[in-house]
Amino acid sequence: MLDIKEYLKPNTVQSAYEMGQMPNSLYVSGGLMVAQLKISSVERLIDLKSVGLTQIEDHGNAFKIGANVKISDLISNPSLNINGDFIKIALKEIGSTQIRNMATLGGSIAFKLGWSDVITIFMVLNSNLEIYDGKFYEISLEEYTKKSMKGAIITAVEVPKTEGVAVFEKFAKSNFDIATLNLGLKIVLDGQIVKDARIAVGSRPMVSQRIKEVEEFLIGKHIKSASKDACDLIEKVIQVGSDIRASAEYRKALSKFLLDKALRRVQL
């Protein structure tokens, strides 16, 4: 139990934001992470679910997904076909049935957890976030991971419809575990030549990051013959650290391993 004084359920984003400006307040969406906090200074929880933000809208060139959409609803939604079944297959790697029934898209991104699979998955899809901090505006998911945005509320995730094949790879000790390293790859091929490449690696243990050197290396090359060099390159350039799950050196080797697996899969 969190020793708080009140649990509020605002009806609009604006009122939620105002409540959030009060000292010692915390937003909660799915609740998985907040319920485990042991911070005794939190006095107030503001439940964002009562604001709504559960829509999944097709805007033609992009999908706009409300921040409170559950991971399980993303998986079961029949219309969410971005790069084929990528999102559904990738999101199934996360947690467990129960966790996917609880975790929300916004909640999974908001804390910028290093081991987040969701951030890697949506980063490789070029996603943008709709943020409210007194007014609405958009920032890329990538940018969000690099900034501190205390008090702001993620209201939606915008996923552009782009071409290409995308795959998600996750290495973990147990199959019910967070990633020791995760990797998302999106490739657009013209025949066998790489027209576009996007690579995001997370749980480094730091939060997901684009690996632009390897993306640039692959573009314009023949995918089969460039694969080996691309894998050697990622091992060289990737920025990783050590923690109880793995050393930095091992993470480097895993980045090579996961990219190799991913490159094979996109060609199938």
Partner: protein, 154 residues
């Protein structure tokens, strides 16, 4: 604060602390079948169904469940007979110490209502979040596949 939750088909009006978890509330109300085995959303022993979907009650705020429907192991148990899942677990030796079982039954019921004819891998994947230290999982997988088959025949 006050909340209204339908627990096992019965409307209940409950006075709670705002930061209370659903696990605490349910056990306080007497639903002792919902178990507390970890504090990191990692074991599944506290699983209940929220609006028909399995969730972890240890990391769910009761305040968030106001107006919703919760089903615990008690809601899947009948004094006079056992469900096919419960019977199969007993027959296959899938319940040793029994501590993981309530969470497992609740989650397995959700599986079978979503997917009445699961493959062995689907059973394993769906129930991944329900840890068991006693059985090594083999007997539980056998039991749920057996129960699924029996349920389809009914």
């Amino acid at each position: 604060m006050k909340v209204k939750i339908k627990i096992n088909d019965k409307d209940q009006f409950i006075e709670i602390d705002p930061g209370e978890t659903l696990l605490e509330t349910l056990r306080k109300l007497g639903y002792k079948g919902v178990k507390h085995a970890c504090s990191t959303a990692s074991c599944g022993a506290c699983s209940v169904q929220l609006d028909g979907k399995p969730v972890l009650s240890c990391t769910t705020f009761t305040a968030a469940v106001d107006g919703h429907e919760v089903k615990t192991i008690e809601g899947f148990s009948d004094e006079n007979s056992l469900s096919d899942v419960q019977k199969a677990l007993i027959d296959e030796g899938g319940s040793q110490c029994g501590f993981c079982i309530p969470g497992l039954v609740v989650t397995a019921e959700a599986l079978l209502s979503e997917n009445p004819d699961p493959t062995q891998q689907e059973v394993i994947d769906y129930l991944k979040g329900n840890l068991c230290r006693c059985t090594g999982y083999e007997s539980q997988t056998r039991a749920i596949l057996k129960a699924a088959k029996e349920r389809r025949l009914k």
